[in-house]
């Protein structure tokens, strides 16, 4: 039986699945229901001076029928009184001593930080998360991403928190920076025990084209918000990996951003996350999604012979290299499995218009063109195929198109080896 017990920067939980600081972690009653559903931890909705929210607050982007493939919000931190929140934190921790309750914080002055940290720990917090990420509203008031975008300020506030705290401190980083590394390093210099990322990405989700107003509409206007949900996962993965592989970083990461299922979670862990946090998928589908996340992760670990999470955390990091170190002589071509081909020819038009014009409805000169008894199986001119992957990406039948490595007789050679050592490169394909 694989062991899912988690330790992220000293914060322990029965499994690595935590609710991110957001509406699903807004109150004690919610978080307790989430723990009952199987969540291992929760980062409480950010506490600070209670704010007033607008209505409406959320927007979703529909991509070819998939609703809310990307999501955004213009809500702020908690709008509930600190007393209420602390009472509920205390109550939750008492009822669920083994689950991780991390309290997210965002205040301004040193005194405010000292005070709110003490009250959080008194209430039973297992850890703190400093919200240096919110990209709307709070940053106009000098908090949130206004802090996260300034490594110096980040480091200073982090050091205050670490000074006042007796529990681990995570710094939640904003992705609204050109390079995440200096910001992760600043948190580390401030003494953070770990970082969590990403918070939301500055965004305008859509425009109401009939009323000429941004969405989500607040009367006759709106503002930029924070983008999250499945669509942001690739951006988050890159930021997590950038820190995880950096030689001077080396502190734990709680991965966040577009995690919708166990597979996404595994990807974050393989790139160095020791816990994962989820917001949007829970907002869209409810706490119950965690059941499949746990089961899927366990099955994955069994399949690969992993007994503890440590064995998989960071396992894909070594494969992340510079472009100049990729083998230019590695060659693949697309192959179509005629047996499973349904003849939609989506690959034909994709290659014709979007790639290298080497998939055809039929082999030139082959009038009859029947493969496996089927008249519409496309033909690939392998001598022209650059192995780009586009056809495989558009094919609606899983496994029908495969990219197959070909033996071309050339020894591996990277661009750097070519430039510096004169390594021989294979002739270019499709570059005429």
């Amino acid at each position: 039986m694989p062991d899912l017990s988690t330790n992220c920067a000293g914060i322990r939980s029965p499994n690595p699945f935590w609710l991110a600081s957001a509406p699903p972690a807004n109150s004690g009653a919610q978080i307790q229901r989430a723990f009952d559903a199987g969540w291992g931890g929760a980062v409480w909705k950010t506490l600070g001076q209670p704010i007033q929210n607008v209505s409406s607050r959320f927007g979703g982007t529909t991509i070819r029928g998939v609703q809310a493939a990307g999501f955004n919000n213009i809500e702020l931190i908690t709008d509930r009184s600190l007393e209420t929140n602390f009472r509920e934190i205390y109550d939750t921790k008492k009822k669920y001593p083994k689950h991780a309750v991390v309290v997210s914080l965002m205040v301004e002055t040193r005194d405010e930080w000292r005070d709110i940290i003490k009250r959080s720990i008194d209430a039973g917090a297992d850890g703190l998360e400093l919200n240096f990420g919110c990209p709307h509203g709070m940053c106009e008031r000098g908090m949130g991403s206004a802090v996260g975008q300034e490594p110096r300020v980040n480091q200073e506030i982090t050091s205050w928190a670490v000074e006042y705290s007796t529990v681990p401190v995570l710094v939640k980083l904003t992705p609204n920076v050109s390079d995440i590394v200096p910001h992760g390093l600043a948190a580390k210099r401030g003494g953070a025990h770990g970082v969590s990322l990403i918070n939301t990405i500055k965004s305008i989700i859509s425009v109401d084209v009939d009323n000429f107003v941004l969405e989500p509409r607040v009367g006759s206007r709106s503002t930029n918000g924070g983008y999250c949900g499945a669509a942001v996962k690739p951006i988050a993965l890159h930021m997590v990996a950038s820190l995880a592989r950096h030689k001077d970083f080396g502190i734990p990461i709680s991965g966040i951003g577009g995690i919708s299922n166990w597979r996404d979670a595994v990807e974050f862990m393989l790139l160095g996350s020791s816990s994962v946090q989820v917001c949007t998928e829970v907002m869209l589908r409810g706490y119950r999604v965690v059941g499949d996340m746990i089961e899927g992760l366990e099955e994955y670990m069994r399949t690969h012979g992993f007994e503890t999470l440590d064995q998989l955390i960071g396992k894909a990091i070594p494969s992340y290299s510079e472009w100049g170190d990729l083998d230019l002589n590695y060659e693949t071509v697309a192959k179509i499995d005629a047996k499973s081909c349904i003849g939609c020819q989506a690959c034909v038009v994709a290659c014709m218009d979007g790639a290298h014009q080497c998939i055809f409805p039929q082999k030139p000169g082959d009038e009859a063109h029947v493969v496996e008894g089927k008249p519409r199986v496309p033909w690939i001119d392998e001598s022209e195929c650059v192995g780009c992957n586009l056809c495989k990406i558009v094919c609606p039948v899983p496994g029908c198109i495969d990219m197959v490595a070909v033996e071309n007789g050339f020894k591996p050679a990277t661009w750097n080896q070519h430039v510096h050592e004169g390594a021989q490169l294979r002739p270019k394909k499709g570059a005429h």
């Binding site: 070819r64 029928g65 349904i342 003849g343 939609c344 020819q345 989506a346 034909v348 038009v349 409805p361 519409r376 609606p396 039948v397």
Partner: protein
């Protein structure tokens, strides 16, 4: 617009067999479409509607554009969406069948787009610059309507001669009301005629009220789209009894007027084609308790579509296979048909001696085919008629100058979509012909 049709016609009780999509259903279904390249469904449609294109437009909310794409290829897209046997046309060739996944419901999506366009009073096409040419069209069914509309886009004036009081041909008088009711057909006709410049001479029978020679003289071209004729009779004793009727004639009565079914306990339908299947389903829907199809062939070899027959079975219809009626009998009172005397037949459809069976029936509907109308043109030298059907080239040209044909009158009886395709093709051939004449 107040309907010119009887509001209490028998057909009004029928419910849609394939209901209309709600917007949510349409978008969900549209988003499933793979958007194939050189799509098999397009090839399977006789009018070659750009199906993936119109479906994509539904998915993006461009429903009007979807309708334009449909009508560009097939001006009868509204009725075709309902009446086409999509299972053996576009839907039958959807690549999802290959994947073992339910195919895209193209007919229902087409209905969604075209219904919205008609309801919204959208008009997509304008008449072309007047050419000064005049074309006569014989018959006001799908073939002639498609031909006339296309001719108007090309600038030629049209006159449709229709022997019935209403236009639409079998769309109005023959299609099973669970697919298409007469009022929808008439609305479609009005919408098509909305292009302007198409004169309609209803209740005028060509060959009787107007001479062929006069038509030819007074017009620059003539399109023959008269469809098929009356129901074929069996030529067996008792056929003249009350209660023995042609199926297509009975359907017309049901669609435009009223048929009395209250007293009918048992109905026998003779035939195994699609008209026979339609009529057994119609008889059941109108409340006739026992409906039996009598067909001289076997179930696997019946010409009617298997999917339609399955639906008929679902309505509790019975069948007598390999059975041939030899006489209809009444009783002494002369009140009408009471029994159908039959013989069983062998695999070669030859009667088997001594195999008599008697079926009780108080209504018998003959669905064994319709007569062909080609002979109407027999007096015109140069027009070839083969077994009642007018012979043309692929574009619809007959062997006589000025004369073109399409639809059931030319193909011997296919579907509405074939009539539409042939009507539009003939219009382009007529246009080419008229252009040539103009230059001469």
């Amino acid at each position: 617009m107040p309907s010119r049709l009887d509001a209490e016609r028998s057909e009004v009780v029928f419910e849609d067999y394939k209901g209309a999509y709600t917007p949510a259903q349409a978008v969900l279904e549209a988003n499933r479409c793979i958007y194939c390249s050189d799509a098999p469904c397009v090839q399977a449609c006789p009018t070659h509607i750009e199906i993936p294109e119109f479906i994509r437009k539904i998915s993006t909310g461009n429903v009007k554009g979807a309708a334009r794409t449909i009508f560009e290829a097939n001006i009868l897209g509204t009725s075709c969406a309902r009446v086409c046997p999509v299972e053996v046309l576009c839907v039958g060739d959807c690549v999802y069948n290959e994947l073992g996944v339910p195919p895209i419901q193209i007919g229902k999506l087409q209905r969604y787009a075209t219904d919205a366009a008609l309801a919204g009073g959208e008009r997509f096409f304008e008449a072309g610059t007047e050419s000064g040419k005049r074309v006569a069209l014989i018959g006001g069914g799908p073939a002639s309507l498609a031909c006339a509309h296309e001719l108007r886009r090309l600038g030629h004036r049209c006159t449709i001669f229709e022997k019935r009081a209403v236009l639409g041909g079998l769309n109005t008088t023959g299609i099973a009301p669970h697919k298409l009711k007469a009022d929808t057909s008439v609305e479609e006709v009005d919408w098509i005629l909305g292009i302007g410049g198409i004169d309609v001479r209803a209740s005028v029978e060509v060959g009787k009220d107007v001479a062929l020679e006069a038509l030819e003289r007074e017009h620059d071209a003539v399109f023959f789209g008269a469809g098929l004729g009356a129901d074929t009779l069996m030529g067996i004793p008792g056929e003249e009894l009350a209660g023995v009727e042609g199926a297509v004639a009975w359907i017309e009565k049901m669609k435009l007027g009223r048929v009395a079914t209250g007293e009918v306990k048992r109905c026998v339908v003779v035939g195994g084609g699609n008209t026979a299947i339609d009529v057994v389903r119609e008889a059941r829907t109108l409340g006739i308790p026992e409906v039996t199809m009598v067909y001289r062939g076997t179930e696997p070899k019946m010409p009617g579509y298997a999917h339609e027959w399955k639906a008929a079975l679902g309505q509790g219809v019975r069948a007598e296979w390999q059975t041939l009626p030899v006489a209809f009998e009444g009783d002494a009172s002369g009140a009408g048909v009471k029994r159908v005397k039959c013989l069983r037949v062998d695999d070669a459809k030859r009667p088997i001696a001594g195999s008599e069976v008697t079926l009780e029936a108080d209504l018998v509907l003959l669905a064994i085919g319709q007569s062909k109308l080609g002979e109407l043109l027999a007096s015109l030298a140069g027009i070839e008629i083969a077994r009642g059907v007018v012979v043309t080239d692929a574009a619809g040209r007959t062997g006589r100058k000025k004369w073109f044909a399409g639809g059931d009158a030319k193909n011997g009886g296919k579907e509405v979509v074939n009539a539409a395709a042939e009507g539009m093709a003939a219009a382009r051939a007529i246009h080419a012909f008229l252009a040539g004449v103009g230059n001469a």
